[in-house]
Structure formats: C-alpha cells, structure tokens
C-alpha cells in the first residue's frame, strides 16, 4: 500500500514540476525560433526553424548590455545597503544593550506591514519631484535601501552566538569597533549568503518603482526596458514574440542560474524565521 502511494506521489510531483517548468522551456524554444510556431509541434525544437537572430533583434531595439548593467547597479546598490544596515542593526539588536533597542526592533517588524502601494505616490513626489532624483540610480535604490527582513534574519543569527564570546573580547580590551570587525562579521558569513540571495530577487525583478522613476532609456533596468518594448514597440519587430522571449531569457537567466547554483542556501528555515520575525 505504502509503495503504491509513494509512486503516486512521485508521479503527481513530477507532473506538477513539468507543468511548472514548461513555460521556461517554451521561453527558450520560442526565443530560438525563426518564425513563431504556436502549434503543438512548435513546442519541440525543429532544426530548420532555429536561429539566434532574435537575440540580435532585441539587442538592436533595447541595449541588452546597458540594461543588464543598470539592473546590476540597482541590485548591487540595494544588496550593499541591505547587508550593511542589516548586519549593523542586527548585531546591535542581538548583542548590545542600549536605550531604544526595543523600539527599534518593534519598528523593524512594523515597517514590514506597511504596504508599498500606499507609499508609492508620496515617494514618487518626494524622490522624483522634490529631490530631483528621477532618472538617477540613487532614486531607484533609495526606497529599497533598508530591508527589515534582513535586519530580522541577522538579528536571529546573532542571537544564536553566545554572549560570552563578545564579553571575553571586551575583557581582553577589544573596542566595540574591533569586536564588530574581527568577531561579529566573520561569524555572520553563512547568513550573509542567504540574505544576498533573498535580496537579489527583489530589485532584479522589480518593475513598478524603476518604471515610475526612470524615463530615460539608457538608465532603465532590463525589466523596465523589456516591459516598455513589450507594451509599445513589439508589434514592429520581424518576429515580435521571438524578440520578446529572447529578452526574457536574458532577464531571467542570471536569477535562475544564481538560484540553481546556490539552491542549498535557499533553505526554508531561514526564510521562514525571517518572515515570521
């Protein structure tokens, strides 16, 4: 009985997984087709219909390399700020006694429930109109620079490290800055990777905010320029779907590869604790 159920479960899981993966497979196939073939036969590679032209086509409409670079700068900036603020605050919350600690922790939890859609219009007014940071990397990064989930993950991580370790260093006469640099930072490395991977997905895939704030094509992250291409000019390309799918492969590639390489670190417990607080 149990064996039969195991096989059934395996079949259900595998069929489900193939359904989940199929659009990705279709994306790659579609990006390589010279003429789009929506029939069932078109889901299988046909050597006579394969080409790399779509990649050249999309690259002539939107500068893929520039788009990737902009996405990289945006994502890199967000990750850097998230990690720096996250480690410092997480360490302070977990290991140091200071006035305002409780309030800061409560704030970090509270910030997570403030929905972005409510802040969208005031942030646009402030950043684009008042500070003049439209079409600027800083303007893109600013609203995502602090990430309270990261603060909570780092705090959780630093809580597991025995206080005695830090007290011993203090007794040996190490200053707080040195304790942070020499003891806390090297210890936090495993949590670092999880936070970087988790944070990467956000800005790399973010569409709404950079779309609002960048009008100049040369500054747009790839997600934004691809979306603009999709909604405005796709109809004019020789093989619009092929070109869109080629762009989609370039956009999806880095995130998917990074995730597959490091999927071991994308573990449920870390994320669960981070979200639950």
């Amino acid at each position: 009985m149990s064996r039969g159920q195991n096989i059934l479960r395996g079949v259900v899981l595998t069929v489900g997984a193939l359904v989940f993966l199929f659009p990705f497979y279709y994306m790659v196939i579609g990006s390589l087709q010279a003429t789009p073939d929506p029939t069932v036969a078109g889901a299988f590679p046909n050597p006579a219909n394969l080409t790399l032209d779509n990649y050249g086509d999309i690259n002539s409409r939107i500068n893929l390399l520039q788009g990737l670079l902009n996405s990289g700068i945006f994502t890199g900036g967000v990750i850097l700020c998230t990690v720096v603020f996250g480690v410092l605050v997480g360490y302070a919350l977990a290991q140091l006694q200071w006035r305002g600690r409780g309030v800061t922790f409560a704030l970090a939890l509270l910030v997570q429930v403030v929905p972005f859609q409510l802040l969208m219009i005031p942030l646009y007014v402030m950043i684009a109109r008042d500070y003049g940071l439209a079409d600027n990397y800083l303007g893109m990064i600013l609203p995502f620079a602090i990430n309270s989930t990261a603060v909570i993950i780092f705090r959780q991580y630093f809580l597991q490290i025995p206080k005695e370790l830090f007290d011993a260093a203090r007794i040996d006469g190490a200053g707080e800055l040195r304790i942070l640099r020499r003891i806390a930072l090297p210890l936090v490395r495993p949590a670092l990777l999880t936070v970087v991977l988790l944070t990467f997905i956000g800005p790399w895939n973010e569409f709404l905010w950079p779309f609002l704030i960048t009008k100049e094509a040369s500054l747009q992250p790839l997600a934004v320029s691809l979306a603009n291409y999709l909604s405005n000019v796709a109809a004019t390309a020789a093989n619009p779907f092929g070109a869109v799918l080629a762009g989609a492969c370039v956009l999806a590639g880095p995130a998917v590869i990074l995730f597959i390489l490091f999927q071991r670190h994308f573990v449920s417990n870390n994320i669960g604790s981070g979200v639950k607080g």
Partner: protein, 318 residues
C-alpha cells in the same frame, strides 16, 4: 592595520572602565552600549525618511487638493476634507478595479493555500529527485514577472499553444482579451508565479509538526488522508494564517501583470487593479491626491480582510 590597533586601544579605554566591574554605577543615559544606537542610527533615519514620512504624507495628501507644481514653487494646497474619497467612490472605473481585485483574491488565495500545502506535504516526504523538484517549483518565484509575461501572452493568445490543445473548447475571444477570462487568467498566472515561496513557508512549518502525532494517528487507524486533515492541517495553522495574509497583500499590490498581460487592464477595464488606477490617475493624469485616496482605501480594505482571515483561521497562537 596600524590604524585598527590604535583605534582599538582608544575605544577600549573609553568603553571599559579601568578595573573591570565597578559595582552598580549609575546607569548611563543611552544604555550600557551606546555603540548600538550609533550602529542603528542610519537605519532609523532611513525608516523615518522612506517609511514614516511618506506614510504621513500619503494620508495628508488624500485630504488636500494636491497637484504637481514646479520644484520650489510655493503653491496653496487647500484642505478639502473627504472630497478626494468622494471622487474615488463615484468613479465607476475605480470601483470596477476594486471588484476585479476581489475576483482575483477569490481565485488566487484559496488556490495558493491548497496547492502550496498539498505540494509542500508531498515534497516533504519525497526522497528521490528532491533537488530537482524543489528547483522546479521555486524557479517561477525567482524569475521576473516581466520575463515570464511574454511566454504567457504567447501561450494564451488566440492561436497560442493552450488554445491549440483545447481545440473547440477554447474561449472566444482568447483568454487575455476576453472580459470574463482576463482576470482569472491573471490570477492563475500569479498563483503559478508565487507558489514556490508559499511552498517554502509550508515546508518550514511542516518541520515543526511532531512525528509522534502522525504515529499516534496511525495507531488509531487513521489513513494518510485522514491524518493529513487531522494532524497536518491543524499543525501548520500559523503558517496558513501567514500565507493567507501574504497572498492577500500581494494580490492587493497587483500592477505588473494587468499592465503587461492585458495591456493596461483591458478589455474594457475588466482586469484593471487599484494600483494600476493609482498609476493612471496619480502619475499619468497628474492627480496624486486621488491616487493617495485610492491607496488609503486599498490599505483599509486589506486590513479588514486580514482581520477577518485571522478570526476565521484562528491564528491567535502564531
């Protein structure tokens, strides 16, 4: 290196009093380690600047006649009470967008909860191809919506693969340009896209369900299905409350999918969403005050839904 050593001795002297523990000195104003406040200060300033201030600004804006003016220009923005809200509630296009999100949530939320719990339970027990299966379910979650939207348009277009397979059963007009099917198609897209994350949450929750409960259930003669309903489902209830809340919030935030999949909420506004209306009214048409009012109504709606879900799912112990 030399600098680090120097600063260490300097800092060491100032923070640790000579002679170690002088008993019960007066507690310093900023706590035992004021250094912690220093480390947190940049974060706190950021929270005030990009969360607290815009939050207050949003409410203020929704109660005033606010419009874009040239930078530095000193203009009068009179208090108008609830006029912006009245305008929003009298606009059939905006009312329709709220209705659309209702349809979206009715499809997306139950589907997300059921599928992610069932798949997480199955994945939890799976031994073979575990890595492959995990990756397969999470890949849509880590990919940009903008990237996969292109494939979905291709798959669900008039002569797309889905319609080719369905043959005479295919809806006419096709999915994304059909008034009845546009919103459900978007809901299914978002479910597919986000499921990996919710599976992850349930997998974490399943680790906390004690194995003894399953053993007790099976000695009492409960089958697999019975023990799923009487052990697993109550065991992961805190996670279910969280999944309900997060999928509702994600649904209320819907923007990218209707903007790209259905060309800005078409056909005839059948797939528009409140955030899409905020973008159109606030930024395209230059009435940020109306957009702020939509935002306030949306957030109040989400809070009410979250409250009802909490009552129904009984997540007090989470």
């Amino acid at each position: 290196m030399a600098f680090a050593t120097k600063s260490r001795t300097a800092a060491g002297r100032s923070t640790t009093p000579p002679g170690g523990g002088s008993p019960r000195r007066k507690r310093p104003l900023l706590g035992k380690n004021p250094f912690g406040l220093l480390l947190s200060a940049p974060y706190l300033i950021f929270v005030l600047a990009v969360f607290a201030y815009p939050l207050v600004f949003a409410f203020w804006m929704s109660l005033h006649d606010y419009f874009f003016a040239a930078p530095g220009a000193d203009v009068d923005r009179p208090f108008v009470g609830l006029d912006n809200f009245r305008e929003v509630l009298a606009d059939p296009a905006i009312i329709r967008s709220f209705g659309n999100v209702g349809i979206f949530l009715l499809i997306n939320v139950p589907l997300t909860v059921v599928l992610s719990l069932v798949l997480a339970t199955a994945l939890n027990k799976a031994v073979r191809f575990r890595t492959f299966l995990r990756v397969a379910y999470y890949v849509p979650y880590v990919t940009a919506s903008v990237a996969v939207v292109g494939v979905w348009i291709f798959l669900f277009s008039g002569n797309g693969l889905v319609n080719q397979i369905l043959g005479p059963l295919a809806p006419d007009p096709a999915w994304l340009i059909n008034e009845d099917w546009a919103m459900p198609t978007i809901a299914i897209f978002v479910t597919w896209k986000g499921l990996g994350f919710f599976i992850l949450l349930y997998l974490a929750a399943l680790q906390n369900v004690s194995e003894e409960l399953y053993e007790a259930a099976s000695t009492d003669g409960a089958g697999k299905i019975r023990s799923f309903f009487s052990v697993t489902v109550p065991g992961v209830r805190p996670a279910t409350v969280l999944v309900l809340l997060l999928s509702t919030v994600t649904g209320a935030n819907l923007f990218t999918e209707p903007y790209l999949l259905t060309g800005g909420g078409g056909p005839n506004g059948a797939s528009s969403s409140p955030v899409l209306m905020m973008y159109q009214r606030g930024i395209e048409q230059g009435s940020p005050d109306t957009a702020a009012a939509i935002g306030v109504i949306l957030v109040i709606g989400v809070l009410i839904l979250a409250f009802i879900q909490r009552k129904l799912a009984g997540g007090d112990e989470s």
